[in-house]
């Protein structure tokens, strides 16, 4: 058996072929990991209004940064416990904001995809409670810039309340909002939407254009260069 194997191994071309096939499989897997455009088929309906239109997705409770009438809206589906969402928030998002949001070309919205663990939903609800006080993005940054290990308790209800208190939010109102699970349904709806779109991981993104064309979907902590290319192609 061993002799046969190594007679084959002596032939570099065969070995190279096997390696090339394995690399090709990985490359194809990587291509599949990006679900750009393909997931949209799952949400196609006969309705005259697309379920993924701006008006359907961006409601009064949806945190939005930038000009609401910007030609492009980037919707992030994120989890405050997800390390790659943290990477996007700390590394990529600031670059998008300075290059595209401040100039009014792109707006950024946030939807909840709480999948990492038990504290993910309370963190999502807490951010919406901060949104009630006009402090969603500040709370969002506070969590992502001080992110702890997954499911280690850093995002439990007590710590979320402490974070809100440190940020100067109205603690009575915030605590009451969080304790009453005011935004449980909203978070559930966001989660169900993400499942409906067939997002498989966090962060995931929908890129909507206000010309009504088909939205683009991405899953992964893509770097600025990726978003830059997509935005520039869409804007041109």
């Amino acid at each position: 058996m061993d002799i046969r194997i190594f007679e084959i191994m002596k032939k570099p071309l065969i070995v190279g072929g096997i390696v090339a096939v394995v690399i090709a499989v990985i490359a194809v897997s990587a291509l599949n990991y990006d679900n750009t455009e393909t997931v949209m088929r799952n949400t196609d309906t006969d309705s005259s209004v697309s379920p993924l239109s701006f008006s359907n997705l961006i409601t009064s409770d949806t945190p939005l940064k930038g000009d609401p009438s910007a030609p492009i809206t980037l919707i992030e589906f994120g989890d405050f416990q997800c390390p790659n969402c943290g990477r996007f928030a700390r590394d990529t998002s600031p670059q998008i904001e300075s290059s595209y949001v401040e100039s009014g070309k792109v707006s950024i919205a946030f939807k909840h995809f709480p999948v990492v663990g038990p504290d993910s939903k309370p963190a999502a609800m807490a951010s919406q409670c901060a949104n009630d006080q006009g402090m969603f993005w500040e709370f969002h940054d506070e969590l992502y810039y001080n992110q702890g290990h997954e499911n280690s308790g850093w995002a439990n209800r007590d710590n979320l309340k402490q974070t809100a208190s440190k940020m100067g939010l109205d603690t009575q109102s915030f605590d009451s909002c969080l304790d009453s699970n005011k935004y449980e349904l909203l978070v559930e709806n966001d989660l169900n939407l993400a499942k409906q779109i067939d997002f498989r991981g966090t962060p995931s993104f929908l890129i909507l254009k206000n010309d009504g064309s088909q939205p683009q979907a991405l899953t992964g902590a893509y770097p600025y260069a990726t978003f830059e290319k997509i935005f520039d192609e869409s804007l041109n």
Partner: protein, 160 residues
């Protein structure tokens, strides 16, 4: 140290093993960086290295290199002797693959939860939270595997 390199030179004087090692390194480098969300093929081919990923990137590079060397040396040893594959290479490679490959496990929480239930989430949390110690442990095991292979190559009779 010079003595430790003698077995390395002995194996990699044959171009077949150089080719095998380069292929294995490339394969694992791509795998680790795709799973770590540092290397993307679409919609733009891009590699980027944010500061929070630096330590994992360096450790997974070391693991890829060590796996390439150790695997090639294992093939050499098996081919030229009747000795079985080194256990520490297998352990080191397995731990390295799990820890290096699970950099983004938690991001796949929904898939893990639906596929494997809470056990899947617990395993991914463990692998993600202890990723760096696991990677360091994997480097240690692979270095031990190299040392074991070196001893086999220098102490046993090799039919070359």
């Amino acid at each position: 140290m010079i003595n430790m390199l003698s077995s390395f030179k002995q194996v990699f004087s044959d171009k077949l093993y150089v080719f095998l090692a380069v292929s294995v390194f490339t394969l694992f480098w791509i795998t680790f960086n795709v799973l770590g969300e540092l290397l993307f093929f679409t919609p733009v081919f891009v590699f980027y290295l944010p500061s929070d990923a630096l330590s994992v990137f360096m450790l997974s590079d070391a693991i890829s290199a060590l796996m390439a060397i150790v695997l090639s040396m294992n093939v050499y040893v098996i081919k030229n002797t009747k000795v079985k594959m080194n256990k520490s290479s297998f352990m080191g490679s397995s731990v390295g693959m799990m820890a290096g490959g699970c950099a983004s496990c938690s991001s796949m929480g929904f898939v893990l939860l639906t596929s494997f239930g809470t056990a899947g989430v617990a395993v991914s949390t463990f692998l993600s939270n202890y990723q760096i110690p696991l990677l360091v442990g994997s480097v240690g095991m692979l270095l031990w595997a190299y040392y074991s292979l070196h001893k086999k190559l220098t102490k046993s009779c090799i039919l070359n």
